[in-house]
């Protein structure tokens, strides 16, 4: 059952320097309990996509087009009050930097209890108990004591666990995790992935895992959408995208990831810089960094989907052998 269907979402920022098309026609859908990896380099519009779903795009940005059906209701046209009721209860989000997400001057218990009381009329005692259970479920030792701590008394990994616990407090249908491991040590990263993955499995929660690192989502996601310059350039089942990438950009991304089955080969890097969103090339946005670019690429490629549901936006798709 589809719980979220994003269709042709466009979120633009109307800055003094010009219109930044941070998200420019993104479509994907997500079934109950499914895990989607949203992948792309920094600045490709992943976070803005996440914030658009929650209705939390900061001015001067706004959703200018498209629809986002959540359980069939369009989040784009939904009144603010109703979106607020969904936030933190049906759709929750985990942010990138755990050092910045928790309010530094409020105790953990305050920040957890308020998340429950914002959506439910329960006693503080009941809320506190749920907060405590929540901390225990993300593997925080002696949760009663931790509840009385301030964020600065916890390590980065612990804080991210708290943020995850908060996200799952109200048993949401969908959690958007925006690069939740990027700011953490490698050893901690794996634990955080594990914690989030387990919670989703246990509760049948759908998950959008945003990352710039394809390796992270390879073992986590059911399907993957690769974004470049505000658009999805390749999407499909995780195995298809990872093992048989067809878009030159995805091939490039995979080439820059160390991997067991390509051991001994040199890591390749995508040439050029991450694009300036105010001066994208005409036609295919990836054109000035693409080694396969030709005359045809001066026009904008449409996204095409094959029978297996593997979609790409490119005039010259690569074939199975490509990453080698």
């Amino acid at each position: 059952m589809t719980i979220l269907a994003v269709d042709s979402l466009k979120t633009h920022f109307f800055t003094r320097a010009g219109v930044v098309r941070a998200v420019d026609g993104v479509s994907f859908s997500l079934g109950q309990g499914e895990v989607m990896g949203l992948v792309g380099e920094s600045g490709s519009g992943k976070s803005v996509t996440g914030f658009s779903i929650l209705g939390l795009v900061d001015p001067p940005g706004r959703v200018v087009e498209g629809s986002m059906l959540f359980h069939g209701e369009d989040l784009v046209t939904m009144p603010t009050r109703e979106i607020r009721a969904l936030r933190g209860s049906r759709i929750a989000m985990i942010f990138q930097d755990p050092m910045m997400t928790l309010n530094p001057v409020l105790r953990i218990d305050t920040q957890m209890i308020e998340a429950i009381l914002a959506h439910e009329k329960v006693s503080r005692k009941e809320a506190l108990k749920r907060a405590c259970d929540g901390l225990a479920q993300v593997g925080i030792p002696s949760p009663e004591q931790r509840l009385r701590n301030y964020p600065h008394q916890l390590s980065g990994g612990m804080r991210q666990r708290v943020a995850i616990a908060i996200a799952f407090l109200n048993n949401p249908d969908l959690v958007i995790a925006d690069e939740p491991t990027t700011a953490l040590d490698v050893t901690i990263q794996a634990q955080i992935v594990h914690v989030a993955q387990n919670l989703c499995r246990e509760r049948g929660t759908a998950l959008i895992w945003i990352t710039h690192d394809l390796a992270v989502v390879a073992g986590l996601a059911d399907h993957i959408a690769v974004m470049y310059a505000g658009r999805v350039v390749e999407a499909g089942q995780t195995d298809d995208v990872i093992d048989r990438p067809r878009h030159p950009y995805t091939v490039g991304l995979l080439g820059s990831v160390p991997s067991a089955n390509r051991r001994g080969q040199r890591l390749t890097q995508i040439p050029g810089m991450t694009p300036n969103m105010l001066s994208l090339p005409e036609g295919c946005a990836f054109r000035d960094r693409c080694t396969h670019n030709d005359e045809r690429c001066k026009e904008s490629p449409e996204i095409t989907t094959d029978s297996g549901g593997h979609a790409i936006r490119c005039f010259h798709p690569q074939y199975e052998k490509a990453p080698a």
């Binding site: 914030f51 936030r87 998340a115």
Partner: protein, 325 residues
Amino acid sequence: MTAFIIRRLLQAALVVFLMSVIVFFGVNVIGDPVDMLISPDADQAEIARTIQALGLDRPIGEQYLHFLKGVATGDFGKSFIFGEPALKLILHHMPATVELALVSLLMAILLGIPLGLYAGLYPDRKVSKGIIAGSILGFSLPTFWVGLMLIMLFAVVLGWLPSTGRGDTAVFLGIESSLWTRDGLSHLFLPALNLALTNISLVIRLTRAGVREAMHQDYIKFARAKGLSESRVVSVHLMKNILIPIVTVLGLEFGGLLAFSVVTESIFAWPGMGKLLIDSLLQLDRPVVVAYLMIIVLFFVVINLVVDILYSVLDPRVRLKDQGA
């Protein structure tokens, strides 16, 4: 924490002591109070008698030791002019200044924070731009000029409020103050507003800047992502963070309000310590000047201490510890 406070108080004692030395000898350098006190046509014998009566015939070092001995017993010496104990004179004028400073502080908080909050939350609205323009004026216009304008407008032209003096006082909870009477309050309003003006502007700017900065912080976005109401996001998540610098600055400003209400007190003929200081300085009334400044330094130290403690209460990341004087 106790160790911290004790250490602070010891430092304070040292500062107050140094202050007394500097001022005691400093006033002597400025001029000879005898010239001020004695009519030009007094004869030699009379002059000698006065000098002796004031203890000014002895070497300055000895005078200072004598003064210190007195201080140890709470005696700051007698005013050369009024012949009354200096401390008593100052304490007599203190309530007027304290009430003026307190009301100013209250105005700065009650006007500055809401206005700054509005200007920060809705930066593009016309009202916000008006608030900012007003705060710039509040900063840059000289206090005495604003004071005169306030008197012109509210006392002379509109005739709504009295222009000078402290008005009726009453005793409540053992404190005599003009806060407890209508007449007193009406006298208090203009000078307090005048004194508060720079602080209102300061608080507006601090609050606005704090809001502008905090609004883009992840913790605000995360609070929203939890589905909290906008009022809770602003009044708890935002305010608790931006109050930290505001409280710090206001606390320090309060010392300034007490110590430098001189201009306002002069314009509005407010019978406070500031006016007493000016008069005493002009007449080289050393005991009053020295006692006044020692008390003010003590005020500053105590206020700083209170601010530090408040700061540590507001910001859990701060541990009270000594970082030198």
